[in-house]
């Protein structure tokens, strides 16, 4: 639910980083906080437990630039990944404009990824939002670890594709981030869409801004 303030000439959008516990959602925000100039970001707020696990959310506002004289301000939130914090997690999704799903690439975390993705679909559906129709990107994090699953397997489990019904979107759409792959394609006579994905090592900052830029761009394009 983007909010446009004509008085202060600001476009405010809400992005939520979702995903299983210890997957790197907070690390994404910490990297952004560390890299973005203090003039263009606000204070980072973390509601965490004593052991630094996210209890309610992390919050970071960043200005990404000016378009048509409007300052584009993105409010980045993370949710607590642990399964039993679902009530808090759901609250953060309210009014979301774009979602980044931070998946943990480790083979051992595959089940946790799938469970969290299902939880995201369910929570979104309860608000009446359709995940396949809002700006959404997947980040496969921890690509540097030796036990990281192949991208092909992660894609098959977490981003297998959904039917594209709107005629306007039924056209082959190449994935700009991965030459040779497509975001929308015809499979067995049906149009199938996938969420754009990015590989990342969030602790080193690899892929963090690629993901943020991709999803922010999708959000702004919904206003154009």
């Amino acid at each position: 639910m983007s909010m446009i303030n004509y008085a202060s000439r600001e476009i405010n959008c809400k992005l939520v980083y979702y995903g299983p516990g210890l997957g790197g959602k907070t690390t994404n925000l910490e990297h952004i906080y560390g890299k973005v100039s203090p003039n263009t970001r606000g204070k980072m707020i973390s509601l965490a437990t004593e052991t630094e696990r996210t209890l309610f959310f992390d919050f970071l506002p960043v200005d990404l630039g000016t378009i048509r004289g409007f300052k584009t301000r993105f409010h980045l939130y993370t949710v607590p990944g642990q399964v039993y914090y679902n009530a808090s997690r759901k609250l953060i999704l309210k009014g979301v404009d774009g979602i980044v799903f931070v998946a943990d690439s480790q083979i051992e975390r595959m089940e946790a990824n799938v469970e969290s993705m299902q939880n995201l679909y369910d929570n979104m559906a309860e608000y009446g939002y359709d995940l396949t129709k809002i700006p959404f990107a997947i980040q496969y994090n921890k690509r540097d670890l030796p036990n990281a699953a192949p991208i092909k397997d992660l894609q098959a489990s977490l981003n297998p594709g959904w039917p594209i019904e709107e005629a306007a979107r039924q056209k082959p759409t190449p994935d700009p981030a991965h030459p040779g792959e497509s975001l929308v394609d015809k499979v067995d006579g049906e149009w199938v869409g996938h969420a754009p994905y990015h590989e990342a090592v969030a602790v080193r900052g690899d892929g963090v801004f690629d993901t943020l830029k991709a999803v922010s761009k999708l959000v702004l394009k919904t206003l154009s």
Binding site: I4, A7, P61, I67, R68, Y129, K133, L220, S224
Partner: protein, 161 residues
């Protein structure tokens, strides 16, 4: 956008909101009034300029209100339409406006909670009317937003390099 209704307000809405809030601050002796949308975005600030980061404050306010909303439901209440956080010197009063926005009033010893509550009831009524009108215009509002960045694809692409 699927599922999420966006909204916008113009200069004249903003002026009306400011006028109501200024009168409220005068009558209640409170220091500052903020309007925060339920998603955590700051809509307006009237009165003394807060010494804290207003963006962070707004996101925490929305989270506070949402969490309390859920607590209300758990104990069988439809909602807590208002909340009070009382400190030794500084206190806050929060009230729902039109189910979409939260009025946050900051006050110190110069004001009393009773007076703030009483006067807030009046201003919430006025703000409810202003917001109801704004949301009724939602058709035009959305059309305005749709057009806002229309044709700006190049600029968007440039922004992200």
């Amino acid at each position: 956008m699927a599922g999420a209704a966006s909204w916008s307000f113009n200069e004249s809405d903003f002026k009306q909101i400011q006028t109501h809030l200024q009168a409220f601050l005068r009558d209640s002796n409170a220091r500052c009034a903020l309007l925060v949308d339920r998603n955590g975005q700051l809509v307006a600030t009237v009165g003394e300029t807060p010494q804290f980061d207003p963006t962070a404050f707004a996101s925490l306010t929305a989270a506070d209100f949402s969490a309390n909303d859920q607590l209300a439901k758990m104990i069988g209440e439809a909602e807590f339409a208002s909340l009070v956080h009382q400190g030794e010197r500084e206190s806050m009063y929060l009230a729902d406006v039109a189910k979409r926005v939260i009025l946050v009033v900051l006050f110190d010893q110069r004001a009393t909670l009773g007076l703030v509550k009483l006067k807030a009831k009046g201003v919430v009524g006025e703000l409810n009317k202003v917001f109801a009108e704004m949301f009724n215009r939602v058709g035009t509002g959305q059309a305005q937003q749709k057009g806002l960045l229309e044709g700006a694809e190049d600029e968007i692409d440039k922004l992200f390099g």
